[in-house]
Amino acid sequence: MILLLKNISLPLADFVLQVDVELAGQVTAIFGPSGAGKTSLLDLIAGLRRPQSALIQLEQRVLTDTALGLALPPRQRQIGYVPQDLALFPHLPVRKNLLYGCKPSAPRDGLFSYEHVAAVLEIGPLAGRGVTELSGGEKQRVALARALLTSPKLLLLDEPLAGLDAALKAKILPYLARVRDEFQVPMLYVSHDRQEIQALCDEVVELERGQILARTYEKA
């Protein structure tokens, strides 16, 4: 993946998020304390917030270029987003949540087919259930699968393991590794847990008060 985040500027409550970086890792961690601007950065990449200035480019595709007045709407960005609160649609059963972003023309036996994604994340038996009936770990897997079923070019994961106890984290982490290895979709992984980052990521960008403090490379 080459994700170019150039000249990013977004005023937040206490500081201005200012990022200028080119990311090339398969899984890049955005690491930093709460309130550092991590979620705002993901929102910008997903097209959910308007920056003051930004050039955001994924591979050769320009997603946002404020200088040219260009901003692709979120639906055209082909970016799968798993927010911290997961935002599973509570009025739809699991299967309809999963199929919400599926294109009718998507191949039924491809890498991102419903059957394959459901098999990798072991969520097939959950399809008929209501979202509110799921356990924490099941919700995480369903949200991840829903994002994958859009055949994304980039996955944004906002603290996917936050709020889970250690035992559940240990259970979910292998699924994330499996997604990384099986689907080969580049990921931006927001976390403030060093262990998770070491287990999954090959690059770490450390963010504090909207500024990049350091950039390091992990051995996945």
């Binding site: 639906r75 799968g80 599973l88 009025h91 859009t150």
Partner: protein
């Protein structure tokens, strides 16, 4: 059917029709006010809410000036399609629609505001356009508030008096609604008729407020599951 039941039937169907007619515009206005900011928004908000606080008779007078034969809209309709508005059942419809519109917008706006915008944002990242987000996410998550607000707007239309009498008059068999007929019965000293119509009005209003309130009190999906 007795004359009294005719009045009740007429009031009920015109109220239902006026509520249905304002529903699309009410949903659109409520959504815009709940989800968007723009310069001059407070002016639009004030205009939408104006009939709620203005004397209904004054609103009726404005409607009469607009819908009368010499009015902008009434004159146009009379000259072009030979259709009179003022002092017909269509004027009752217009008065009820204008008077219940702010109530509908107020309740539906609150219902939309309760829907966590994160659901809509994530739906967009999943490839949904604005119409699909609205009909597959926003409306289903706010449906209780929409139904409750619609029922209360219907109840408001049922009881409409001041604007209706100005723009539609009280013509028996043509524009006489429940409220107008109660007033007329009292004026004519027909206490028994007034009491019977009053009882029906109370039952209808009680049922509408109770059912509408029940929908509004139901838990909506304010929080994420």
């Amino acid at each position: 059917m007795s004359q009294e039941w005719q009045i009740v039937w007429f009031t009920a169907w015109v109220s239902a029709l006026s509520t249905l007619l304002i529903l699309p515009a009410g949903l659109a206005a409520a959504w815009l006010l709940a989800r968007h900011d723009w310069p001059g928004k407070s002016l639009v908000e004030t205009l939408v809410m104006l009939p709620l606080v203005m004397p209904p008779v004054a609103t009726g007078l404005i409607l009469l000036k607009v819908l009368g034969r010499r009015g902008l809209l009434g004159g146009f309709m009379h000259d072009r399609i030979h259709l009179d508005m003022a002092f017909t059942w269509r004027a009752v419809l217009a008065a009820q629609a204008v008077m219940s519109f702010p109530l509908l917008v107020m309740f539906v706006r609150a219902a939309f505001a309760e829907v966590n915008p994160r659901f809509e944002q994530i739906a967009r990242t999943l490839g949904a356009g604005e119409w699909r987000v609205f009909f597959s996410i926003t409306v289903p998550l706010a449906w209780r508030g929409i139904i409750g607000g619609t029922i209360l707007a219907f109840a408001r239309a049922l009881g409409e008096f001041g604007a209706t009498i100005m723009v539609a008059g009280n013509i028996p068999g043509q524009t006489a609604t429940l409220s107008l007929s109660i007033y007329e019965s009292v004026q004519l000293g027909q206490d028994a008729t007034a009491f019977r119509l009053l009882s029906i009005a109370v039952v209808l209003a009680f049922a509408a407020v109770w059912v509408g309130g029940w929908f509004l009190r139901q838990r909506s999906w304010r929080s994420l599951p």
